[in-house]
Symmetry: C2
Subunit: 396 residues, 2 copies
Amino acid sequence: MINEQYKAMLGGKSVIRSLSEYATARGAAIGYDNVFDYSLGNPSVPCPPDYTTTVIDMYETVEPVALHGYSPSLGIPSVREAIADSLNRRFGMGYTAAHIFPTTGAAGALAHALRAVTKPGDEVITFAPYFPEYQPYVSGTGAYLTVVPADTDNFQINFSAFEAALGPQTVAVLINTPNNPSGAVYSEATLRRLADILRARQTEYGHDIFLISDEPYREIVFDGGEQPYPSKYYDNTLSCYSWSKSLSLPGERIGYVAVNPRATDADLLVPMFGQISRGTGHNCPSSTAQLAVARVIDETSDLSVYETNMNLLYDALTSIGFDVVRPGGTFYIFPKALEDDATAFCMKAKDYDLILVPSESFGVPGYFRMAYCIDTEKVKRSIPVLERFAREVYGL
Amino acid sequence: MINEQYKAMLGGKSVIRSLSEYATARGAAIGYDNVFDYSLGNPSVPCPPDYTTTVIDMYETVEPVALHGYSPSLGIPSVREAIADSLNRRFGMGYTAAHIFPTTGAAGALAHALRAVTKPGDEVITFAPYFPEYQPYVSGTGAYLTVVPADTDNFQINFSAFEAALGPQTVAVLINTPNNPSGAVYSEATLRRLADILRARQTEYGHDIFLISDEPYREIVFDGGEQPYPSKYYDNTLSCYSWSKSLSLPGERIGYVAVNPRATDADLLVPMFGQISRGTGHNCPSSTAQLAVARVIDETSDLSVYETNMNLLYDALTSIGFDVVRPGGTFYIFPKALEDDATAFCMKAKDYDLILVPSESFGVPGYFRMAYCIDTEKVKRSIPVLERFAREVYGL
């Protein structure tokens, strides 16, 4: 019989996807060039040419039976080793291949990390603003998500609200830095304070609290800065990664979980991920994608366009009169809406063919997200439209 | 905290994988050429050259941002349409793109199909002998698997045992034809009788019973025969497919679910699969793999070696004195062991470097499986060893 739970979810379409579909339809009507579509976080720059030539080279030279054969259930050993080595070089960690589990992107990584350290009925805490898919990701495991209100001064962590929310029922904390949708990059001070609190509560409650760190935007950091590596500050950390943004490969579904070697049961967690896969139908990412990313492990796409776009938008928005925290990374910006009702605000913007995402589904009222992974030329053309919209509708 | 359920599964390593790892280790010691490794169902023939040239062409000519962009959550529309059209041409079905959901292989397909039509506590019935991974696939959904004993005369369906097992608690029946491990191809008569029984029980119990049909070996049928398409005989059928065997692409993780257009809620099921994906971290197979299989949709690898190997082994086994049903397809054969304890039999075979899989985990005692997706030359060399083993240990 049809499963009523999933049937009931059919209404629950993502606001972002609905807006993106509207933008596509509107584009078909008036020309997509005329729609300022800031809805979707789909990378706008190509993968590095080395990725393309690597795959072509593999298809031309590697025996097909080897290239397309089953991965071992925990991933291709040489790929796991290349990932461990790269993380060790960059972040001074002590990973071996045994701590790395290749996954179908960050979604696959989170599906495994969450199942490994929760059981149905447990609490997972995250911080607003947060990626809306965290709700189905967590509820799909049987655990539930508690959202700590935002620190709207700078979109770091609201620690007083976090300390009040934490309790013996909390078994995992889910962070996302650089952050979608705010663009905030958690500072070393933020990560140290978070780790101190978690360690104290582990002792107090007598059980582990895992930090699940979702890091697909790790390499998109502005002003020459770097994202401090969360796992360096807290042993019980599972780092979830995707090459969707850094190599512009979202459709290839390739990422990993990296288990901190000092985590509780560190040596059991990757084999447990393998068991979890058997129940979810995961069974490793594409063998081509695994082998190819391993060959370009320290490369990225040319990500500079995102910083260019961010600076253009940040300057324009502040000069128009928006209240906005300057993003430290990602390709998102998260200004305050010009009225309390962010959905009403975004509906009015649609009349100007400005496609903005209201903030309610990110767990913060009164803001909106712009995904500026679009052509710089279009960002420039959108600025007078933003000005006109703010002036005509809100008198700015 | 570490999930104790998955931790407890860590002992539960697949017998097939353990034997395969033994074969690899033994091969390192004495030369893999000297190990007659019949353990693993990993295709031994390359993908069609067209697949390779198609992927190279796509990487050389398609804009990377398009090639590697996010798939829509229900899969790439042109790919879904190509799959529907191909199935309609071959089997006279009435699929549209709306009935097709691309997945990460058959494991991904089964994960979605099972979740869509069961809820925790429901019963799913399958038939021995069966693929051992059906246990974690089903238990991962919260439903439970009931195994109907084999019809060992021909490895079609033991209908009297099936009719006794079926009850109001049964919501789905899971079949696999051509069958791993027996090589049986369910006949039209078998599929008709199965459908008649299911229709009668649907009426009697007043609820749907879905047929989940796992068909990765669909194109590997011997003697010029064809696998009758199960969905033609029963409306409430979800056909689960993988290109792992027909195109020799197991590592690329590419397959689909096809929903019979006359199934109950046929138009809801694919959108429900999309909701299920959000909880399991699936989010579509690789975009490259989706686009590439669509371009070679009616091709297969040169699968003839499997029939050559089957005939060699079937003739040898029968002439040695084994009791064996001739496979109609796949690359497996499932003879009766020469003693009641199949595991003891296979352990003794290991001393001859014959790697055979005992039948207990397939739900039938006293048999063994040989996966003959290996070089024909090695099959030929293994025959005198099989003869010597049967003579020296069992006096045949």
